[in-house]
Structure formats: structure tokens, C-alpha cells
Amino acid sequence: MSNRQRPLTTRLFTTSDARLSLSRLKYQWKSGYGMLLPAFVLLIMFMYYPALSAIVLSFSSWDGFNSPIFNGLRNYITLVKDPVFWISIRNVAVWAAVKTTLEIAVPLFVAVLIYHLRSKRMQYIYRVIFVVPVVVPDIVLYLIWSFFFDPNIGVLGHLFSVLGLSGVTPNWLGDPNIALFALMSVGFPFVVPFNLLIFFAGLQAIPEEVMESARIEGVGRTRRFFQIELPLVMGQMKLLLILTMIQLLQNVTLPLVLTNGGPGYSTYVPGLLMYLLAFQNGQFGLGMAVSMVIFILVLSLTWIQFRYIRPGTEYTA
């Protein structure tokens, strides 16, 4: 066996070995690390650096223009003592609980319905119909819904009026008891395209033999769903639970556009609090402290889900 053929660890490291290592390193550099470098640099500049800055600046008083002044834990103490902060936490907890349930259950239900259509062509058509709305930017959707809710020219008010119910038309965005639920209804009928596609993919990954044997044994639809389909898409559900919760906890645009957190604080959420503290009040340090709290909240919930939601089976294609 020549030196070239023997493993490097079992013999002396020669000059030709060094040349070989250098050559391999150069190749890996050009083919792997080198090509990753620009993306990595941009990732650090635009993702990690701002996040690290936010962590550091959350311990300072900063108006966004002048130099920040370190103030220790004062921002966090201010938050803990601020009743508005706790109101926002309560609101987002309610919002997340209701909306997560809707945005998981409804797309799953629709995915199952589409999955069991006999015609592949119809499956495709329905999938397209439900997914096409994803091209509409969220802000456009929110503005359309603000039009729906408008007390002067809104569609919902007009609908109530046509039905002879103008006397009982709710003050959708102006009643503190229902404003939060009005915001939650944005997105009705809650068939989230992304969630639908993920669940559909999960259902498609179920081996045909499993479904066939269920059919042969005469398993009913309900039992099939709860005992076969649901456990086998638990992996997808775990992913979507995490993503949906992250998205809801970070929610800023919807309450900002529709209610600005009002009436009172009935639609205040931590994301909105963070935004208003920073950009309305010029308290960037305090806003960043809120963002840190949101981050810890999201991290905790994600850890809990990873720890306690274990899919019965992990499927591979």
C-alpha cells in the first residue's frame, strides 16, 4: 500500500500529505465555505447584529438618535410595574389561544376533505383555490377588513342594515368587549394556505397500505381521522403550532392598522407595545426590552412544544 492509499492517522504526515490537505482545504473553501461566506456575512449583518444590538440596548435608555445611556435593569423593572404590559400579555394569550386553535383545526379539516376527494384533478383545483389568496399582502387584507368594520361605510354595517338589524349592529372595533374578537376574525374562514399545504403534504405521506387496510377493516371516517390521520400528521402539527404561535406573538401590523391598540387597551398586544414605545414615544431601549420578553416567551413555548409534543411516528418519504 502506498502512502497515498494508507489512512493519514496510521503513518507519518509527509509533505505530500500536507499538499493533499491544502488542496482539499482549497477545494472545500471554493466549493463550500467560500460560497457560503457572502450569505453568512449578510446574515450576521442583517440578522444577528441587529438582534444582538437589541439585547444590549434593552439595558439602555435610547431615543433612537442620540447615544444610548446604560441603565441596567431599569427597563425591565419598568415593564414589570407597568399594568399596560400585563394587559398586553393577557390579550395576546387570549388571541394566541383562540387563533392558534382556529388556524390549526380549520386548515387540517380542509386538508383532510381535499385529501379524500377521489379525483386528483379536483384535489389540485381545490388546493389552488385555497392557496391563491396567499399572494395578497397582509396589509392589503387588513385594510380591506378595516373597510368591512368601518361604522360609516363598512360592508358589515350595511349587511346588518339590509337584514333589518341596524339597531343591533355591533361597534366592531369600538367596543372594548368585542374589539379583540373582531381582530381575531380577520382572516375568516381561517384556511391558512401555508398550513393547508403542510397538512396536505403530511397526509400524502401516509402510506397507502395503511389507508387501504383501514378501508378493508371498515374503519369509519371519524375513527380514521382521530386514530390514523391525526397521529400521523402530528409532526406537521408540531411545526405549525410553533410557527403559528411565533407569528401571533409577534403580531404588530393588524392591531396597529385596525385599532392602534384601542379602545382603551383592549387590543394592545406586546408587539404593538414594542412598536409604540419605540416609534411613537421614542423609547427604543424600553421597546427592545419588550422585544426581549417576546423572544423569551416564544423560546419557552417552542421548548415546551419540542419537549412534550412527540409525534407517534416520524415519517420519511
Partner: protein, 500 residues
């Protein structure tokens, strides 16, 4: 051969990536300066970027909106007079956009235009220290376009004094004045048996009662927690508190300036003049809650991007609403199918409450708070600003604030009144023109010490009107908010309240 080809492709890929990164870095660096502004001592040659608000030729226009052209015309004339200097207009933000957020983020990046629009009150409360240039030294300079006078002498001295910051600086140059009024549906008034528009608040409430009995919604008010809604409450606090405290006006001018400024308000809060322990201050809130029974049903709901009350009025759903002098043309162009008119905002009298004085405070809602309020950023907020450019930008401001030019700019829109000495408003706004040289007696009564306090105060008031808080609870919370903010302002600005 295959390996060689692969290596060449990989190297090419690396070079392309590096090139893209270099280009990005270069454009980010170059984006900060688009001209060759020369350094101190040399005359400026380049472009002056101006954010001109309503007078800008560069904005998205509504179908019937009058297009302002005067400022653009003056910019061309100015360039002819000063070869090498060009004036460009930054596009106005879209309607409903948060201008202060734009200003704040642009200043953080050193990217503000060379002239920005700023409400003079916000130069003290919302704009961080160090963003705006103190123009007071320039007011003393000779005005090259008005021989024999300094720049300050050509402007409205009353307004210059009133819009000065507590630290004595002048950050904002004013050129127009806005009034507000109550717009009313003449036909509804006729049907409700109201023959003359009300003058006092008591007469106004009586008119509301008659309208309600006749089956009409008397008034449209915006109490949504939006920027407009939050701002509108300050109209009512000014209307009432200016009247209520007129007997103690001199006492309110703690700092001895020609107006009750932010620092005076903070001191008044600190001393308890504004707060739950002063029954004069507390008297306003039950009056406003009583007024709310005459408002349109969904007054806390969506406000149609700040236009809710106006839309409700134009649609004939309500009999009255408050708005600024700018609304007259907008209502006209909407061609409502009823006759409408305006009357001065009704002010409180002793018939309403023992705390009212005889002062007619209807003009206190308006003032030099309109579109012609221009400021110049510092070099830190506008990286392109240099001493030479500052001189040129001030010169451009001097050019547009001569009497002839200010009158032409402001009167073209016909919504506001020009304020530079020697100007005349359009005939229909003559009554407003009479106010500009009168002292602007106006106090917010502690509402609007800063953005944070104003928002929180507003939401507390919402809760009170909606019945979620009692008057005592509202008083407690509002006073606590004002006190905390007053203390914060004192700390931030190094104010010593013990001196007053």
C-alpha cells in the same frame, strides 16, 4: 479537465459574489451623499431637498384637490437667482402615514431632507434633542430679500415668540395659521327649529338636544384610538382649559415667555394646577362625558383614516362636527346634497359651570400649527448638511418667507392664512386673519406633555367615557400619568421646578 472546469466556475462564482457585495457596500456609502456640498467658508452648490407638506408639488393628489404650484415656481426663480443651487421637493408621505416615525427613523440614519415639516409643539416633545437646528441666530441676520430688516423682523413676531421652545431656541419657521370651526347642516338645524347657530357651550348643548329630539344625530366626534382621535381630544382641552384658566393666565406663564409652553405645563402639573386636586381642572371631564351622548353611535370605532366625522357629515348622517379651515374646500368638492355652513366653536360660560370665565376661547384650537412650519435638521440628522449648505437652506427659507411669496404660497390653497408681516388672507378667511397677531392663548391643560402621556391619557379618557372608569378613577389615573411625565421631562431637560 472536469476538475479544471469546476474550479473555474467556482472561482467565477466567488468573484461575482464578491463583486455584488462590493457594489452593495459602495451604493450604501454613496447613497448618503448625492452632491458635492462644499465645506465651510465656500458658497454652496448642489440641491436643497425640501419636505413641503401641503404646499409640495410632489404628492399624491385627491381628484378635486388644488395642486400647489407656487413653491415650485419660487424654487425655479431661486435657482435662476442662485446658479448652482437647485431646490427639489421630497414626495409627501401617503395620507395616513406616520410622519413622526418617518422623521425619527430618517434622522437616525442621517437621511433627513434639508428642510422638514415639524409641528412646533412636537419640536419639544416628539423630536429627539439634536435633530433640529436652532434658527434663532439666523433670525437676527439681515434678510437679503427685505432690505433694511432682519429675518426675524419680517416674520410675525407674536408667532415667533409663541413657537419658541422652552430652552429659548427657535426650531420652526412659521408661515401660516389655521383656524377651526363647527361645520353644520343648515337643513337639519331648520327642521329642528334652531334659527341661529349657538355661540356658547350651553347654547350648543341646547341645540344638540333639539336635534336629537328631531331624530337627528347631533354631532360626529372621533374618539378612536388613532392618531387623529388622540389628537382631537386636545381640541376640547384647549377650548375649555384656555377659558377656565384665563383668570390665572399670568400665573401659568411660569417661565416668563410669551406663551404657555411645555415647561409651563409641566410646572403647572407639578404644582397641582392641572390634576385631580384642582376642581377647576376636574370640571371639564363630566362636561365631555355629557357631550358624548350626542355623538354618533360608533365614536370609538374605526375613524376611516381620520376622516370619519367628515364623511359622516358629508353623508348627511350627523348635523355637526368640528374641523379645520382646510375642510371647507374638501366639503365643497364633495358636493353634499344639503346646505351647510360654519360657526365659531362654542365656548364655555358661567351658565355651564362656575369655573368658566367670560373669555371667548373659540380661537384657541387653531394657531400657527399648519403646513408652513419648516425646520432645518442638524448635520447629524442630515449627513449632507454642511455650514455652507445650512447658509443656503436658511437663505431659501428667507426667500419663501417674504410677504409676497408667503402670501402667494398660502393663498393659492385657500385653506390657511399667511402670517408673515404684510400679508393678506383670501377674503373668505379674513376673520381668521384677524387672529394671527393676537396672543395665542391656548393651554392643553396637561394633555400632551409628550406622546406617551397623551396616548395613555386618551385611552384613560376613552375608558371613562365608555363607563369602565368612574370620574374619580379617571382623575387618579390621569393625574398620575401627568405627574410621572412631568417628572420625566424635568429629569431629561434638567429643569428645576423648585425655582418656580
Amino acid at each position: 479537465m472536469h476538475v479544471k472546469l469546476q474550479n473555474r466556475r467556482l472561482t467565477q462564482g466567488l468573484l461575482i459574489s464578491a463583486g455584488i457585495m462590493l457594489l452593495a457596500a459602495a451604493s450604501a456609502w454613496a447613497g448618503g451623499s448625492t452632491e458635492s456640498a462644499t465645506t465651510s467658508g465656500k458658497s454652496f452648490s448642489g440641491t436643497i431637498q425640501t419636505y413641503a407638506e401641503s404646499y409640495s408639488p410632489n404628492q399624491v393628489f385627491a381628484p378635486n384637490q388644488i395642486r400647489p404650484t407656487e413653491l415650485a415656481k419660487l424654487a425655479k426663480e431661486y435657482s435662476t437667482l442662485h446658479p448652482g443651487v437647485k431646490v427639489d421637493f421630497v414626495q409627501n408621505l401617503a395620507s395616513g402615514s406616520d410622519y413622526m416615525t418617518w422623521l425619527r427613523t430618517k434622522s437616525a440614519g442621517g437621511e433627513l431632507p434639508d428642510i422638514v415639516w415639524v409641528q412646533w409643539q412636537k419640536a419639544d416633545t416628539s423630536v429627539p434633542h439634536g435633530v433640529l437646528t436652532n434658527l434663532a441666530p439666523h433670525l437676527a441676520a439681515a434678510d437679503p430679500y427685505v432690505p433694511g430688516k432682519s429675518w426675524g423682523e419680517t416674520l410675525n413676531k407674536q408667532i415667533v415668540a409663541e413657537t419658541r421652545a422652552p430652552d429659548g431656541a427657535t426650531y420652526v419657521i412659521n408661515g401660516d395659521y389655521v383656524g377651526t370651526a363647527t361645520y353644520y347642516n343648515k337643513e337639519m338645524f331648520r327642521k329642528a327649529g334652531i334659527t341661529t347657530p349657538p355661540t356658547t357651550w350651553s347654547e350648543f348643548i341646547s341645540a344638540c338636544q333639539k336635534l336629537k329630539s328631531a331624530g337627528f344625530t347631533p354631532f360626529a366626534w372621533d374618539l378612536a384610538a388613532t392618531r387623529t382621535g388622540i389628537d382631537r381630544l386636545s381640541w376640547l382641552t384647549r377650548l375649555f382649559y384656555t377659558n377656565f384658566f384665563m383668570g390665572d393666565w399670568k400665573k401659568l406663564e411660569f417661565t416668563g415667555t410669551d406663551n404657555v409652553n411645555l415647561k409651563d405645563d409641566a410646572i403647572a402639573v407639578h404644582k397641582g394646577m392641572y390634576g385631580k386636586d384642582n376642581p377647576r381642572w376636574m370640571a371639564l371631564w363630566p362636561i365631555l362625558k355629557d357631550f358624548s351622548q350626542y355623538w354618533q353611535k360608533d365614536f370609538t370605532g374605526s375613524d376611516s383614516n381620520g376622516n370619519g366625522p367628515k364623511l359622516a357629515f358629508i353623508a348627511g348622517k350627523v348635523a355637526m362636527y368640528f374641523d379645520g379651515s382646510w375642510a371647507a374646500r374638501q366639503i365643497q368638492s364633495a358636493k353634499p346634497d344639503f346646505q351647510w355652513g360654519t360657526f365659531s366653536n362654542p365656548y364655555p360660560t358661567s351658565t355651564l359651570t362656575k369655573y368658566a370665565t367670560s373669555y371667548d376661547s373659540s380661537a384657541s384650537i387653531g394657531g400657527p400649527s399648519s403646513s408652513f412650519q419648516y425646520a432645518i435638521p442638524t448635520q447629524k440628522a442630515d449627513n449632507s448638511m454642511s455650514p455652507a449648505k445650512l447658509t443656503a437652506t436658511v437663505d431659501w427659507l428667507m426667500y419663501i418667507t417674504t410677504a409676497a411669496h408667503d402670501e402667494a404660497i398660502v393663498n393659492q390653497l385657500g385653506e390657511y392664512v399667511p402670517t408673515v408681516d404684510g400679508t393678506e388672507p383670501i377674503p373668505s378667511l379674513m376673520h381668521l386673519g384677524q387672529l394671527i397677531s393676537k396672543p395665542l392663548y391656548a393651554t392643553f391643560g396637561g394633555y400632551y406633555l409628550n406622546e406617551s402621556e397623551r396616548s395613555a391619557f386618551f385611552r384613560t379618557f376613552q375608558s371613562y367615557v365608555l363607563g369602565q372608569l368612574t370620574l374619580a378613577q379617571f382623575g387618579d389615573q390621569a393625574t398620575q400619568l401627568m405627574n410621572q411625565t412631568s417628572d420625566t421631562l424635568a429629569q431629561q431637560n434638567h429643569w428645576d421646578f423648585a425655582k418656580y
